[in-house]
């Protein structure tokens, strides 16, 4: 079985609205491709992605596997936190990356703080 990974740089979704981003990324997953997004969606966009995924479920499309790798997200150091807030404010959530895999292709994404494991069907 072959896997197709589509890399989406953050600059590609930056000009889009939240809803357009969700539609665009979900559209790729519905074509049975694994999305590798530079950066991450905001929490409300992640929730919207789950909501739209549920609306799209049918006999062929069974949903997605979603995982975000976000370095230093839980850092308690004040400087690191401020740095992330400033960078996110100015440039958007570009740090880390997001994986969105169609459930028909990706069985499970195991996520530890430092590593990610993609188990296919």
């Amino acid at each position: 079985m072959s896997l197709t990974l589509q890399f989406v740089p953050y600059s590609q979704i930056a000009p889009m609205s939240g809803s357009e981003r969700v539609d665009y990324l979900l559209g790729i997953a519905k074509k049975e491709k694994i999305v590798l997004l530079e950066g991450r969606l905001s929490p409300d966009q992640e929730a919207a992605l789950i909501e739209k995924t549920m609306q799209s479920i049918n006999k062929r499309f069974k949903g997605i596997e979603l995982s975000v790798v976000y370095p230093d997200a839980d850092s308690k150091e004040l400087f690191t936190k401020i740095k992330h807030h400033v960078v996110n404010f100015l440039l958007g959530n570009r740090s880390g990356f997001t994986i969105i895999g169609p459930a028909s292709v990706v069985k499970e994404i195991k996520q530890d703080p430092d590593k990610i494991q993609l188990l296919t069907q």
Binding site: S42, D44, E51, M54, S67, V68, A103, Q111
Partner: protein
């Protein structure tokens, strides 16, 4: 017109110091034990169950609300809230899994359809709850994106959160892993099914809703 009425009513409520109605939401992935905990709370304080729980995922597919639950702590303080039990949030639902669990094709499709709607409703209710208990299965890996998305959304909405590590009666339960995954939150280990540590849970509720 309705919105104007709500605003005027809200203004007078705040003016005369009326207490904010607490809507306590139970959130989490499927099969964490949300309904079992809801039943435990309702049995302890109302003497009746709230809904049916099952080992099969997506047993709760509709939002259920139990109004005006009053709990007391050892100091005699009271806490009144409306309890909102929500369907488990998932990113995928496969009706074939329900067939494997013994359902007919039509039953499985119906359950899957209801489950997808349940997830959508649970997400939409995030705007209506004002305190949340995130119920996680302590035997499972807490680093799932669904858990992180739920907690991230609550954080973005500034909603107070208590994380419950449920099923601590089981051998594989690991509270420390949940604490490590969500270091910024209080985590309380309980067994909703057997009532283990439930008094500490009620005491934590008083702290979180302060």
């Amino acid at each position: 017109m309705m919105k104007l009425f709500q605003r005027v009513s809200g203004f007078f409520s705040s003016l005369f110091g009326a207490k904010k109605q607490i809507k306590l939401g139970l959130y989490g992935p499927p099969n964490g034990g949300k309904t079992t905990l809801a039943n435990r709370i309702c049995e302890d304080w109302l003497g009746e169950e709230m809904g049916s729980a099952s080992a099969l995922a997506h047993e709760t597919r509709e939002i259920t609300v139990k109004e005006s639950i009053v709990i007391k702590n050892s100091d005699g303080r009271e806490l009144t809230f409306n309890l909102v039990d929500t369907p488990g949030i998932a990113t995928k639902i496969d009706y074939e899994e329900f067939i494997k669990a013994g359902m007919s094709d039509s039953e499985a499709k119906k359950r899957a359809k209801e489950a997808t709607k349940g997830v959508i409703d649970a997400i939409r209710w995030l705007d209506d709850v004002n305190t949340v208990i995130v119920v996680l299965d302590a035997t499972k890996d807490p680093y799932s994106q669904v858990n992180i998305t739920i907690v991230g959304n609550l954080e973005a909405r500034d909603i107070p959160v208590l994380i419950v590590a449920n099923k601590i009666d089981l051998k594989k339960a690991d509270i420390k892993r949940i604490e490590a995954a969500f270091p910024q939150y209080d985590v309380i280990g309980i067994s909703a099914k057997h009532g283990k540590n439930i008094e500490d849970f009620y005491n934590k509720l008083f702290e979180v809703t302060k």
